[in-house]
Symmetry: none
Amino acid sequence: MSGAPRSLAADGHSPMTEDDIGAAPAGSVARGSGVTLWRQIAEKLEAEILAGALAPGVRLPVEADLAERFGVNRHTLRRALSHLSEAGLIEATAGRGTFVKEPPLRYPIGPRTRFSEIVAAGGREPSGRFRGSTVEAADADVARELQLAIGTPVLRIETTHEADGVPISCGSAWFPAARCRDLDLVYEATGSLTRALATLGIEDFRRRETRITARPANPREMDILSLAPGRAVMVLERLDVEANGTPLQWGRSSFAADRVQLVFKP
Amino acid sequence: MSGAPRSLAADGHSPMTEDDIGAAPAGSVARGSGVTLWRQIAEKLEAEILAGALAPGVRLPVEADLAERFGVNRHTLRRALSHLSEAGLIEATAGRGTFVKEPPLRYPIGPRTRFSEIVAAGGREPSGRFRGSTVEAADADVARELQLAIGTPVLRIETTHEADGVPISCGSAWFPAARCRDLDLVYEATGSLTRALATLGIEDFRRRETRITARPANPREMDILSLAPGRAVMVLERLDVEANGTPLQWGRSSFAADRVQLVFKP
DNA sequence: GGTTATTTGTTCGTATGTATT
DNA sequence: AAATACATACGAACAAATAAC
């Protein structure tokens, strides 16, 4: 259990007698350089993360070891980690450890973006998960967007999306029930909306508009997306139309803001 | 969760035998309540600030006194202050003291779709306000986006944008200094980036990419955009290129997420 | 499935540095 | 120049969450 009290010179402090460390291997912090120790450590770790030496998902050494490596007190080391955590580069959990976070997934928004292609393009394993479906009466929002009369039956499908098992987004999409009968069943079976629509003979549709806002996550989103309180979600509303311009689906999804980067190219 | 620890005290510790406080006047923190001491203190102080009991500009008692008032160690008190400082509610200066900052104003914004076109147009609307400019060495981000060597001189222009007097966004844009000499002066004079660029003979440029993330607002954004703590900002990164493909400007702007709806049409 | 070990999180104590008044 | 007040750093102990046995 971490013996080696390291004696440390008594004399209260002894700011820099580089002798007692002996190693000071990769982590050598310059005491009295004008830059605080915790900032030097934070910058060093950040550089390693950005350079890829500390790959996403990698678990950092435990705090005690890191502190020893840098030759500082655990408090000082923790302050550096706290800084990186606020910057979104790492994530610490009591009892588990500290991990380098995945960089935000680039999520291109275009006329024909499909989730599976986006994620696959990022080299990750996509999975859409079916959470449930209902047939309900179109409310004012849905009716306006889908150009239906209020009260028209619409099929609502609730989904979540993951990349490599990490939840990315959750939300609902509404379809005209008459046009999309049993779409939910096929979707649940295949896990792919694109394929489910194809079975209905709908292969050509495109994004007509995308609207984005953001706000702190609500409890439901915190649960589904595994978000800490106070984190932000981007709320993306989208309208897809068929080739002839008929509204096909209108949806509203919440994205974990620190795991996704929405990308628009004209 | 929170399975009633309720043992508290635990003795074996006893640095402060509750007798010496005697008073525990306004500040009484509940030890062993499941909520950390620093958070209780932070919330208490925040409530006093938001309620107006601690008016803007008021100087807080010195840390030692505050720590005594709450019956905690100065470290614990400082952690609470640090939290408030990050949230932008207070500001501490060594040797001077800790002061309550001016409170963020709340702007009730009604229909928000008004601003969408402004934003979708790419931040070139005429209501931009010049906040300052500097010539600095390109850091890694700027250099990569503008395809310059790290350290190349770049012109940085800081702006805010308002609509009907309500702050909407703030951010910086970077230009190759060699290409855009005195751009800032012209911009400050005209208030229009498009016109300023035209005086440099740059009339044809286009948006190449727009990236969007979101996160809780930081103190600076809370200040400029008059945001309450915890509100979200959308961070929009954009790259403009000249007709021949040469990067012209790269910028990063923060939008008050609840006042703006970004609309993208393919 | 309960117990133990590991690891992060919180708190108090103390000393010293540095900027401001 | 000295006192004041925030800033940084080291040390020790315990609490709480998680993982491993």
